[in-house]
Symmetry: C2
Subunit: 222 residues, 2 copies
DNA sequence: TCTGTATTCAACATAGTTATTGAATAGCGA
DNA sequence: TCGCTATTCAATAACTATGTTGAATACAGA
């Protein structure tokens, strides 16, 4: 009998180890960082800018995630890239789905924010693409598009959209997709398109949700 | 344009709402309560006893889980039963798998605690049952067995096992299953069986992991 | 070797969380 | 209606996490 631990001690250690992970996920700031990292690896300064916080603050949150082994780091030239650990993206998708299934308040928050940009789900998107000849554009930065995107999506970053309207057919529904349920890029794109007379809608998920549902993804092709 | 929120305000609210869920999961005590509730609904006092904590303490943790909508309550006669919300069990399974995939320390904690009780995984269990005529016993309390159990499992609660050895064939491998990866019942059963000359092994998962992998479950049949 | 800059560290004030204790409440069952 | 007991509340002290600031470090590139 080699183990000298009591069951209580073991449970303290085991649930404690689990809680190291859930504690690391237990902060809005860190959830936002994780949600960004789903799109691909990034250096600290870029993460800090994208989440509107001081660099030192972002760095500390990232270190918490690293201690919980939710991210890995790799030096790339003069910067250090943080990258999501395998499996984390799936857990984030599951957590957000659980939260939205259970909290009417959270649904209300997102629904009211995206009120003026008609949102469509995965099933509806598939139908619109197949049957109605809708055009799917991915409005994230090109680097993220190149990491992974929905099959058939065309990359038009939201900040370039106004200059590239000529690429879009005026008689088709344009569906914009972005990082995920809390990303505002697609809604911005939809508002711009609507203002220019296009019919447009926002895909409510991102690549992580698409993949979690068994959808295939493509890489590269800028 | 009805929504007056800025994107930053929206993100604060959205990630904050998500964090309400992850914060609630961010305590070893509450994780242990959730892990117990996976086995079925229970009143406060029973949860407190099973997790070795004062009732007031358990009650407060349960209320945190309730505010995060991870559990629901229902009065049953003179007691109040807490019950896991749908979908929570799957998330717990995913979180524990992620933690174990990433943390060598956590693997070491469980491996060393269960060192003297040979542990087998789902795949091996299926093979042993089909090809070697192994006998599967469920050593949880009967109430939990009746909620849900693995197909073909026989209920022999661990505290009754010593008195019911006659029910077990001496020439077969006995596999004991219990609540899940952090439950010590199966290991206790294996040690007892080994001391009485049986070949015995511990199934390392519980019904939640089994179901998450697409396995069917049975109910009742005490 | 040196310089510049991306990242981390240290220290602090503030805020929030946890465990514990004893008192209060609520609602079943008689 | 009333008593009983399961549960919750309130108050406290110890602890832990957060955001902020400015200084320190470490390393690529010259």
């Amino acid at each position: 009998m080699l183990n000298t631990e009591s069951p209580r001690q073991f449970k303290r250690a085991a649930y404690g180890g689990l809680a190291d992970v859930t504690k690391a996920l237990g902060s809005p700031r860190r959830l936002e960082l994780v949600d960004l990292l789903v799109q691909g690896p990034r250096p600290v300064e870029s993460l800090a800018r994208a989440t509107a916080q001081p660099i030192a603050s972002a760095s500390q949150h990232l270190q918490v995630l690293k201690r919980a082994r939710l991210v890995d780091t790799e030096r790339q030239g003069t910067t250090i890239e943080y990258r999501l650990a395998p499996g984390v993206s799936e857990v984030l998708v599951a957590l957000r789905r659980l939260a939205h299934a259970r909290s009417a308040e959270l649904r209300e928050t997102t629904d009211s924010f995206f009120e003026d940009a008609p949102s469509i789900d995965r099933e509806r998107l598939t139908a619109l693409l197949r049957e109605d000849g809708a055009v799917l554009i991915d409005v994230r930065p090109t680097a993220e598009f190149e990491q992974a995107h929905l099959p058939g999506a065309r990359s038009i970053p939201v900040e370039a959209l106004a200059d590239r309207l000529a690429e879009l057919p005026a008689d088709r529904l344009i569906v914009a997709c972005c990082r995920g349920p809390y990303c505002t890029f697609a809604a911005d794109a939809v508002r711009l398109l609507q203002a220019r007379g296009y019919r447009a809608a926002r895909f409510e998920d991102g690549v992580a949700e698409w993949a979690a549902d068994g959808g295939a993804l493509e890489a590269a092709r800028p």
